[in-house]
Symmetry: C2
Subunit: 309 residues, 2 copies
């Protein structure tokens, strides 16, 4: 399962009543953060997820409202006792920005690696997740992220027993390896059912919708998307400032065949984003207008764990 | 008069219920900020003082909890429409740190000048204030600041009339210039009373008390001083971490003959600083344990504006 926690929902400036947009993801006890504006570490402390297990930071782009909180967070991870490496991902140009910000976080008790990634790259993330990115279109390079948690094929103990596989060979079969024993052999296909759907999550902000997105986010369990403007009259602003309206985010969720959509990154000029909920739900009903503290757990579909015989 | 507003009182890490230590000063409508940790611009928005009139930023030292909020603030000043220069003061090393942080605030509609200062230097600040600094003792270079607002000598209209000074010469006499007119002349001393006490404010944080401080802060109307530790049992921690206890801050206020003391920069381990108020007030009664939003106005002493004849 994957836990997701929306820390904030603001764009441009952190406000007393709206933390900047950031998303925290937890899988197998390991944490991944998406974006880190000023104040992210403050609101983080409200939810008890701790800093020590943060293994990766995925930065959409290097505008201040998405990265200014990094040095403070790096200190808080250190104060929490982390010594294992932390990996930071971002678009081209990220390394220079991180180096600049680290003038106030020069010594850390863990290694911070910075990897600049571009469309099509995949990389391993903490908790057994796989990350992928797709470039968006904004005032400077921006990345949309997709996380995938694969699910193993179902294992049939009945078939394994029928073939006579010794118990100590079951794990290797489950892991997809053929096994032999005195008097017999078995291949994974003999005991494993069909591939199963895993879990996936998409995060996209500070970009216009680009043609690659629906395929990139295809079938995600949860799409966390910016919706800078709820009011449909702000469509031109969205184009000029290279952001998205609620309608555009909902259209992306529908075209991607996502299961759920969370809206975030609201313009400071939009005092009550919830008032524009219908702009999204009429296009994509499973939309939630985000708020700080919005949480969910993505579970594998409720399939039987043992293939029906 | 000088207005002072304590924005936050925390040391080390910004917490959901305690903003990082920072002080805002207003004189003749112009603003000066002391320290700018992560979140300073957020709490600032709660008090309606606006960003546009910020003319100077005085940084005590370049630890993250005193400067990490700078890039976000620089953007907010820009968004507020400022185009006049902003001057930033700090100890040696500040310019390199500011340059690093400006990787995420590279283009601003105003000029930001950085001036590294050391003990004994004075410099003009917005609102007619004069700034001075004294070096403290911490893990890296740190400055204590003093602001002075001079007060003009009292002008006696009675004397001016008796001497026959034409009205259009009064202002120059008030400004300390001798004047002549057809049939007469007057020197400032003919019409001005004795020098009068001005207003002054001290700001000191992240340092041990050093011998120069009592003289440096002598007679200030308000001393805003760190008191990282209220519990007198933490005296050793204060020495090791080069901070001050409430007692040490109160002793400094007493030795400096300050009029009032505000305590700030509380250790995150001190949940209720107010509980230790007596540690300071027994030494220096006019102590206030600081909180976000603590405000005061420093007024000139209530002397008659016209010298008694």
């Amino acid at each position: 399962m994957i836990d997701a926690l929306l820390l904030g929902t603001g764009g441009m400036s952190p406000l007393p009543d709206r933390w900047l947009s950031a998303l925290l993801v937890r899988c197998r006890g390991e944490l991944i953060l998406f974006d880190c504006g000023e104040g992210t570490q403050i609101v983080w402390r409200c939810f008890g997820w701790g800093f020590r297990r943060l293994g990766a930071i995925c930065i959409s782009h290097t505008h201040a409202d998405h990265i200014a909180g990094l040095p403070g967070l790096l200190h808080s991870i250190a104060n929490a006792g982390r010594t294992e490496p932390v990996a930071l991902y971002g678009p081209p140009g990220t390394a220079a920005v991180v180096a600049g910000l680290r003038t106030i976080a020069p010594w850390l008790p863990y290694v911070l690696t910075v990897r600049e990634v571009t469309s099509g790259e995949t990389f391993p993330l903490p908790g057994g997740l796989t990350g992928r990115v797709e470039e968006g279109r904004h005032a400077l390079p921006v990345l949309a992220y997709r996380l995938d948690l694969p699910r193993a094929r179902p294992f049939s103990p009945e078939r394994a027993r029928a073939i006579g596989v010794p118990l100590d060979r079951w794990r290797r079969l489950q892991q997809g390896e053929p096994v032999r024993w005195i008097g017999g052999m078995a291949a994974p296909d003999d005991v494993l059912g069909p591939p199963r759907r895993g879990l996936s999550l998409g995060y996209v902000t500070d970009t216009r919708p680009v043609p690659a997105f629906p395929a990139f986010f295809h079938g995600v369990d949860l799409l966390v998307s910016e919706g800078s403007y709820g009011n449909p009259d702000d469509g031109e602003k969205a184009v000029i400032n290279t952001h998205m309206t609620f309608r555009e985010a909902a259209t992306l969720a529908r075209e991607a065949d996502a299961r759920r959509l969370w809206l975030t990154h609201f313009s400071p000029g939009m005092a009550d984003p919830e008032a524009f909920a219908a702009e999204a739900t009429t296009i994509f009903p499973a939309t939630t207008v985000g708020f700080s503290g919005l949480q969910t757990t993505l579970n594998f579909d409720d399939e039987p764990d043992i293939e029906p015989s």
